[in-house]
Symmetry: C2
Subunit: 403 residues, 2 copies
Amino acid sequence: MKNNNFCVIMAGGIGSRFWPYSRNNKPKQFLDFFGTGRSLLQMTVDRFRPLMPIEHIVVVTNVAYREQILEQIPDMKPEQVLCEPARRNTAPAIAYAVAHIKGTLRQEAIAAGALDKDAPMDLSHAYCDANIIVAPSDHLILNEEEFQRVVRCGLDFIGAHDSLLTLGMKPTRPETGYGYIQIEDRFAERSSNDCQTAGAERPLTLKDCASDIYTVKTFTEKPNLELAKVFVESGEFLWNSGIFLWNMRAICSAFRSFLPDMDRLFRSGATVFGTAGEEAFIQEKFPTCPNISIDYGVLEKAQNVYVLPADFGWSDLGTWGSLYDLSEKDEQKNVTLHCEAMYYESESNVVTLESGKLAVIAGLTDMIVAESDGVLLICPKDHEQNIRNIVTEVTEKYGGKYS
Amino acid sequence: MKNNNFCVIMAGGIGSRFWPYSRNNKPKQFLDFFGTGRSLLQMTVDRFRPLMPIEHIVVVTNVAYREQILEQIPDMKPEQVLCEPARRNTAPAIAYAVAHIKGTLRQEAIAAGALDKDAPMDLSHAYCDANIIVAPSDHLILNEEEFQRVVRCGLDFIGAHDSLLTLGMKPTRPETGYGYIQIEDRFAERSSNDCQTAGAERPLTLKDCASDIYTVKTFTEKPNLELAKVFVESGEFLWNSGIFLWNMRAICSAFRSFLPDMDRLFRSGATVFGTAGEEAFIQEKFPTCPNISIDYGVLEKAQNVYVLPADFGWSDLGTWGSLYDLSEKDEQKNVTLHCEAMYYESESNVVTLESGKLAVIAGLTDMIVAESDGVLLICPKDHEQNIRNIVTEVTEKYGGKYS
């Protein structure tokens, strides 16, 4: 049976909170945070390889990062790297990727003689039968096996239901930097639909799949600490992972309903996507898209949104603090990444220098010490939200030299 | 009139207290601390150039540093760099340099036909009429003009008196890391001797010179803080600068009196110094010398020791703290050396990275931040005495890689 799973990897982020380790020309997704030899982007791509051929994976990014992506993923073809001519948040980026996948499938159908080249776009055609996973390129997932299990379960669900499915992470602390999803009813309680095994390597039971899928009551972005504590204690809230699964019909229908102007724009290029004309079309039209997130533009409005709770050691690696929390600590709770280090009367620091270097740290507590490519940052862990402002000031003072 | 001023620059030190900025293969004297483009050694040599031809300057050091010295002082000849085959403190090093100068003068006299090549060594011969300044290579002197004035005054004094003259620095704080000299009587009060101008560019008055020279009551090494405070308040104590002036007769006579075994050893080579045989002689004999300082071995015992008080902005640059004290500070009392820096809620730090780098320091007070050649040290300023121990531990753990 033909593999109809596709993946859209979002890799346009800047990640300035990890400055100076991340830089404008080398944002977070391209960095090997843990010294494993694989960047976050490479780990993300690797995570999807068991689910689909590499040709089914596209990366949406900025043109500045195209070459880095092709270097890091050498078996990816240039046309799989989709470059946004302007930063327009997640909804336009996803619409672009979906249009690209749809256009590519259409061209394949035409080339195979299954479709007339002048046929109008019609989502009910068999060539549009695609399951699409959208995933950030710069998050960390520790339990790959559980990730595979959960995603296969989600694919199975969206293969059977025209729905918009989000993976919701079981919260472990009242994190104020994340979005929260409040769950409502179990899918199985409202529907008798059963879960089909989509030719999977292992049979799925109802318990594996739809019985653990919930409808969504509310979305809440970055609550304050008190609210976050209430959320976590309630047991009703999950972290929004930014990993979405849907089939082609469901996402196209949702764009048509909730972002009709943008949808019209991409449909006007239906016949050029997947052809040599795609890039020129995007160069001209993409910048006219509104700046809007998929969460705000679609998910918070649609009725067929579901969430699949999951627990596979996920972090958005949004801050040095989250990196510290995830990393192995010594007896004094210091985290050392990439470099050698010796600590004297020092506790709970996170220290990263370039590989091969030595840090000797005395009398320091709860600090970030990060050195990379000509810049050393020393900053209290609980001031890390200031790093963005620091980067802005560094750029004002020195131009792009250090940022 | 022939210039008979000579200078012995002591450059064998390791300076581990400035680690990681100083390293085994690049100790303090070879470093450009203030980013002026001149190392402490180069500044030291430059300071003596107005007083004598470069051929009259010798550097005593370890063989490991010979090439660096010849690179830093390109007009110095290899035979002016005297290499100790073993570390034996200042008395043997000075004895070696004095023997070398004496031998060179002797060979010149023989070559000029003024002396028979088999003539016994005789200090009363005219060729032995030399004034010798001994100076460390790794100290800082801010007021070069005043230094010139004081040294010319001292040279004038030792040209007329067979004495051992030390420059005593007027103390500005109760420093516990220095040696102190207690002064006793003014030289002029005990002697009617007048001060002769040794062909100097400017005439010296009695006030300039001998009237400001004192006899010495006591030497005290590294007093505790209470004692140091008493010393400074008394007005009777000066810091021992390690800069000594004497003529050839005075120092040879002092060695004969107070370090007779060592003196005999060097006199046994009287006819080989200044010849091709010198190096082999030193290789064989020097390691048999006792490990003893010139202060303990000679100056604390001799009766003809005098001190010339001076105030030319001197520091032995013994510690990061002394470097901090001497350096220009910003409004938050931070000192930045060599690199760019931005400070947030940070005070009284001393920060040095390699030239061209940027340090961003937040929430840090009274710390040393020093990065050099693959090593970053972060350490409280008042823990700087631990740096030597840290270097020892680093060497135990990593071999010589980082030390």
